[in-house]
Amino acid sequence: MSVTYLEAIRAAQEKALREDPRVFIYGQDVGEFGGAFKATKNLAKLFPGRVFDSPISEDAIVGVAVGAAIEGMRPIVEMQYADFSTCGFNQIVNQAATLFYRTGVKCPIVIRMPSGGTAGAGPFHSQSMEAIYAHYPGLIIMTPGTVEDAYSMLLEAVQIEDPVLFFEHKFLYYHLKAPALPTEALPAGKARIARAGRDATIVTYSAMLHESLAAAEILLEDGYELEVLDLRTVKPLDTDSILASVARTGRLLVVSEAWPWGGVAAEVIARVASEGLELLDAPPARINALDTPIPYHPNLWAAHRPTAATIAQAARKLLEL
């Protein structure tokens, strides 16, 4: 028996619906059809009236969730693709994210964001948008990279009284498996050492966790032991764990599938430079997607995003400085 990343997301939603009558799920095709990726498969049948289709109206979907949350509900919104959340951007960053600060009234909504690239998905079904939302105060940004986190962090997101954007990676949906659903979990906001090492720290999250772990295996052949830190939540960013790891290794490489300009990788490096410059034995480095729209063709796409090979190359360069 095993459970996939996608099944974990579905299972977390089923549990949330079962245990909390305030929870409902709203989004495009999430009802009887079960969602574009089947993340809500059979949930409409199991919970009549609580899992239902929206029109293709991202702005209104988020607005509806905010209104329902003000009135005491716990909506889970599915954006069909994170890319389409730009059409609901205003309600996320100006309505949901400002409500508590302005009024003292909480806004407990969860927006599921199927994110990141897959071969052939192209410019509008592949984006990693976590940094755009992390820029705004008032939002919690989760980026689970494991089956266990996909399950436990989504359940935690539903319990949190503030807006949570849950960036689940589509590349992990079917291929990433775990033996079973977890029974205990690290809380959101805490990074996890996915692999311990002494020579350099790779800070990463989401699908890049697995490329980074593979890169660490490649460099092991050269005798280098890389530490891989999985951020899990990019906002709040577990700065203490990052600094502690860099203190141990003296070198930092940040890996992100998002574009480079003003992103999570840039923020991690800025914090280490500001608070732990003396810990570094070499300039901090980052590797991101290239600064173009995400290409359609698998050959181009594979070269556009960081991979185990390019991460290993960047790490080797860092280690040789």
């Binding site: 991202e58 509900m73 059409c87 309600q91 503030d162 608070e275």
Partner: protein, 344 residues
Amino acid sequence: MASEAAADCSNPFLNKEVYLRAYRIMLQARILEEKLASLYRAGSIRGGVFLGKGQEALSVALGINLRRGDIYAPLIRDQAGRMAFGDTALDTLRTYLGSLLGSMRGRDGNIHRGRPAEGYYPMISHLGAMISVVAGALLARRFRGETGIVGATTIGDGGTSTGAFHEGLNVAAVEKLPLVLVVANNHYAYSTPNMRQFACRSLADRAAGYGVAVREVNGTSLDDCLHAIGAAVGDARAGKGPQMIVGELLRLVGHGEHDDFSYLDEKLKKSSLGRDCLAIAEERVISRGWATKDECQQWRKEFALEVDELAGKVLREPQPDPIVEDWCALSDKRFLDSPHCYKR
């Protein structure tokens, strides 16, 4: 349009008590806004001042038809509707003057005022965005099994051009929610006239496209507004789905107090749309024998005195202190992102 005779005898939405209450609230709102303009000119108010002069009849007619337990998300020219729903001159002054004791505690200001826990939602500036929020609130009430409540929100002619307006109204119609949407066509979106804003005959024509019931009303007539909005709110409350009202009127002031209104078409100003709804309502009150001119004058004096006293009090109230402000956008402090390098 409701006739005078209908207004006096058989119209269930018009009676002396309701009409006088509506008129007095309009008067209060007008006097309060005159004070706000004066405080702005004196430099006591930071940011903008946006007045509803000329729109009080349409606005109050919505607020007065709502009950405790309903939801109301007003827009910038709804001082009268807000006061009819229960907002006070005191909280208005506190919010405009940045008092720490106001409902927004200096974190937001002027017309961005509300108490969501009491069904009174503070607008954001992005027009149309409140429609879907009210729809979501109504959905939540439906989940809880509540019936007989309505959610109301307002917008101007310019706001109907936004995608949020379309998406919000469509969602409310798909879900058959008891939403009341009042469109105040005041003929200018800031300075942009109707002819540059939309190409249909009337904004009311849009309702059919959503499957939403619509009423067109003379927004300068309190009689007509009370009648039409009363009927619309009643239909929404009775489960007849979303209701739209389009009120034709003219904003009698600039977009904000900073605006010289130089773009106003003189022909429009001299047309029936340019009539002052407060003056018309007062004429009706007097002609129907519900109050004398002296009584109206006396009320005006009393309200002005009250507002002056409140403004004096609020000007002495504490302002927010950046030292004690918690600077926290999340309710759950466990998830604060506050590295040392952000601290000043």
